[in-house]
Amino acid sequence: MKKIKKGTVEKIEKIAQDTYALEISSDVKEAHAGQFISILCPPKTLRRPFSIKGFKDGKIQVFFRLKGEGTNYIKSLKVGDSVDFMGALGTGFNIENKKSLLVGAGIGIAPMLFLKDELNSKGIENFLITGFKAQNEVIQGSDKTVVGGSVIDYLDEIIKEFKPQVIYSCGPEIVLKLVNQKALEHNIDAFVAMEKVFACQVGVCRGCVIKVKKDGKVQNATICHDGPVFKSSEVVWE
């Protein structure tokens, strides 16, 4: 199955301040939480990666926040327009039958919502907490939403009450780093979805590497292909 696709815009709608939901119909057969698609945004040279928020019968959903030219191009698309994308790409979350705590920050809620769906469909108990900078940025769908403050400040209490066996997270690197610290303190495994500027999207250009510790050795791993999801204790945090 070739992973370069022409899809069609099914839906595009505003869901929060500067934030949109896009649904693309395609012939993609399989996609999992933590994987992403990379959309061509002419005339930009490099494709723009977006985490998959939902997937059913070839219909792929993503949430995107307006940043620069690429995301503004996507915002200009209309229902019925063609979308050139690659996907589903990357290595997503490995779902285990364990009580799961999901932590999302900002637009990082997107893959967490997909993961929550996947966990629910397998009957795995889970709790999603997300944080947003302001009320008008809030995206719905969490078990607890924090506005203004940091999700990290709530983690000790939630871990004590909910007693998760595993933590999953997506958001700015600074948040992921703190999630890793909390996970270490509470002796729970955590898996985080990382981000960097991509060029090739598929692991060949080595443009998006981070350092990871594996088999006692520090080595490079690509976020686009080996990730975006990594075990947080294996990441060499900067």
């Binding site: 992973k3 040279t45 960097k196 598929v202 060949v204 443009g207 998006c208 590497v209």
Partner: protein, 303 residues
């Protein structure tokens, strides 16, 4: 559509440029790699390298800057792990070789010779690595000596890739020809600096990436360099720099190129090389050019 440089045969003149196609088979989920004339591998060194720290990619208007720093698996692993896959899948490849000393290049050449690698492209011009290869690429005497040494150890098709970051590309091209190389490829990336400054909530933030500029924005420089090389030497030239469509191929032919490499455009369209090869084939069929040489001649005769 097939072409031949020394004894190295390719089914068409489209080559995936080094650093933009990995070690060749990784793009299999996206296109039929065996339809591409050849794949130039990621720059390979004697020992594996981890590459540069920090941000490695910066997008510019109509292009990008990279500072990967030659991260690669090293020649030993390439031969053990990648060559069997390439052979099995019938993928024609060119080993892009980089080093920091004369000795590195000479050793790589003899290892490649022993392994039966049919073509090497010497990267004497990587702008992202502090010591080493760039030195050779800017000085015609050292380059001459380097190519001589490699030639002595290597019987296959020897291509030397030149940098545009020089004052006289003609003298470098001449040095390469005199030393007995089979072809010249040009251009490698241009030295560039990307700066992005954001002003958020009363505070400035800066992102700065210095490295090699590539993509559509460098095409005019590449064409100029190819033309200057053509004026100095008779060797076949593999032209590259910002190629994305059929008309770019015609422009490079007009400047003096005999084959083409496609780099950054693979990131925009990952099936770019296959599409371009098919487009070229279709153009030739529709317009009754029976060989690629006929097409070249027709373009060179435009007045």
């Amino acid at each position: 559509m097939g072409i031949k440089i020394a004894d190295f045969e390719m089914k068409n003149p489209i080559i995936a440029a080094s650093g933009t196609f990995g070690y060749a088979d990784e793009y299999e989920d996206f296109c039929d790699v065996s339809q591409i004339g050849a794949i130039a591998t990621k720059g390979i060194t004697l020992e594996p390298r981890l590459g540069n720290e920090g941000d490695r990619i910066f997008e510019t208007d109509c292009g990008m800057i990279n500072r990967i720093g030659l991260e690669n698996i090293g020649i030993e692993r390439f031969i053990e792990e990648k060559i069997p896959i390439l052979k099995k899948k019938n993928i024609t490849y060119i080993l892009n070789a980089a080093g920091s000393t004369l000795e590195d290049y000479a050793q790589l050449a003899s290892i490649a010779n022993k392994a039966g690698i049919e073509a090497i492209e010497l990267n004497v011009s990587c702008p992202n690595v502090k010591s080493g290869c760039l030195e050779f690429g800017v000085d015609s005497n050292s380059l001459h000596e380097l190519v001589l040494r490699v030639r002595k150890n290597y019987d296959g098709c020897l291509i030397v890739k030149l940098t545009p970051n020089v004052t006289s590309i003609e003298s470098l091209a001449l040095a390469v020809e005199k030393a007995g190389a089979d072809a010249i490829s040009a251009i490698n990336t241009l030295k560039g600096l990307g700066i992005k400054i954001d002003y958020i909530n009363g505070k400035f933030y800066k992102k700065e990436v210095q490295g090699g500029l590539s993509g559509k924005c460098i095409k005019p420089v590449a064409l100029a360099m190819v033309k200057r090389i053509r004026s100095a030497v008779k060797l076949p030239i593999i032209g590259m720099g910002g190629i994305s469509g059929l008309s770019d191929l015609f422009e490079f032919i007009s400047a003096g190129a005999d084959a083409f490499e496609v780099g950054t455009h693979n990131f925009t369209q990952c099936d770019a090389c296959v599409s371009l090869a098919l487009e070229l084939e279709e153009f030739m069929r529709e317009n009754k050019f029976s060989t690629f040489k006929d097409l070249k001649t027709a373009i060179k005769e435009i007045n």
